[in-house]
Symmetry: C2
Subunit: 198 residues, 2 copies
DNA sequence: CGGTGTCGATACCAACCGGTATCGAGTGAA
DNA sequence: TTCACTCGATACCGGTTGGTATCGACACCG
């Protein structure tokens, strides 16, 4: 009785299992506090499988964060692409951004930990810098496009406004993590409104 | 020949030596990547001295960060207390804040790492929340005092403005860490100006 | 001066880390 | 059916970790 001839999982499947498991454990424990054994155990595999699919711990961490940053970037740009009518939609955009801070809270934590890592590792730093520059560029384009659409003269250069929005996203995530009540739901939108009205 | 009868260092002296050493090593390597041996070696002592003065690694980390947060808080409030003439001084305040981001870059890194720790440890979290609330309150008071002095109607509630300033401080520190050129020197001041003029 | 208690150096521990070598089971092509 | 090869489990390595037990040297007080 050979049964349905259970196939051996493909390499891509195993790799994905490991990545998903690592993502989950990172979210739960943080990057620095997570060992290869933790990841392998979460995936129902062993260290051997990890080393067979990745060059080592650093390679795995890098791969995961790169993937997450790309996903997050796409999401952020689509949010900004919908910023069609400027005056009232800034409130909506602010609300959506703050909502993203809550729903993606664990990701914000991971990004900031990764940032701390990048500050001490030149290789990681250059990778993060490249991604971040691309994100800034995308946000800048979305902002200037929305401004042109409405014929508004922004009091700040679009690329500077983009930096401020990104900074506020991270900064408010920190404050909200410390004390959610300190960051009311409308705050991000209110600030945005002040920043786009000349 | 007894010499100048070299005194044994007082307990407070040893404790301070350890704290200062740990601060230096934390700044260099980060909290998570620093072992008790590293700290003891930096202080010219051994682990025994550390365990004799602190309950353990966690106790030491907590003590140091508490102390740093207090120092930073005092510095931040004095900066805001000097915010006498609102219109032009916002630029100065912004410049000083951004300068603080650079000169205290390592501290920002440490705070964000500590924040990540607090997000996973309820005890650490409550300690940080308390300190942070006090800092918010102090900044709020400074802002409303300056506003009253000039008879300006702030478009944002002082406590909300305080949160935004704190968030921008951390957020811009992150962006500046990734790419210093992305955060021009006048940006913080420009944003501040938009936030205080109704 | 002499006893008493404190402080910190030393040695040591079990646990765990990232990484490597090995080897058997399963796979796909010949 | 066979055979070369891939993949992942297992065992193992040297090194490091936070934490503990011990003990000698020193300061302080009576």
């Amino acid at each position: 009785m050979t049964g349905p001839q259970r196939r051996r999982p493909s390499r891509a499947e195993t790799r994905r299992r490991i990545i998903d498991a690592a993502t989950a454990v990172f979210a739960r424990q943080g990057i620095a506090a997570t060992s290869l054994n933790d990841i392998a155990a979460e995936a129902g595999l062993t260290k051997g499988a990890v080393y067979s699919n990745f060059a080592g711990r650093d390679d795995l961490v890098l791969t995961i964060m790169e993937e997450h940053i790309v996903v997050r970037m796409e999401r952020a740009t689509t949010v900004f692409a919908e910023l069609a009518d400027l005056d009232e939609a800034t409130a909506e955009a602010g609300a959506r951004l703050l909502e993203g801070i809550d729903s993606d809270a664990t990701w914000h934590r991971l990004l900031l930990e990764y940032w701390g890592l990048a500050m001490r590792n030149p290789t990681v730093h250059s990778g993060l810098a490249e991604r971040r520059a691309r994100l800034r560029k995308a946000v800048t384009a979305a902002i200037s496009k929305a401004a042109a659409l409405h014929g508004v003269d922004l009091p700040l250069a679009p690329e500077h406004l983009a930096v401020v929005v990104l900074a506020l996203s991270n900064g408010l995530a920190v404050e909200r993590g410390v004390d959610p009540a300190a960051v009311p739901p409308t705050l991000f939108g209110d600030v945005l409104k002040l920043l786009v009205t000349p």
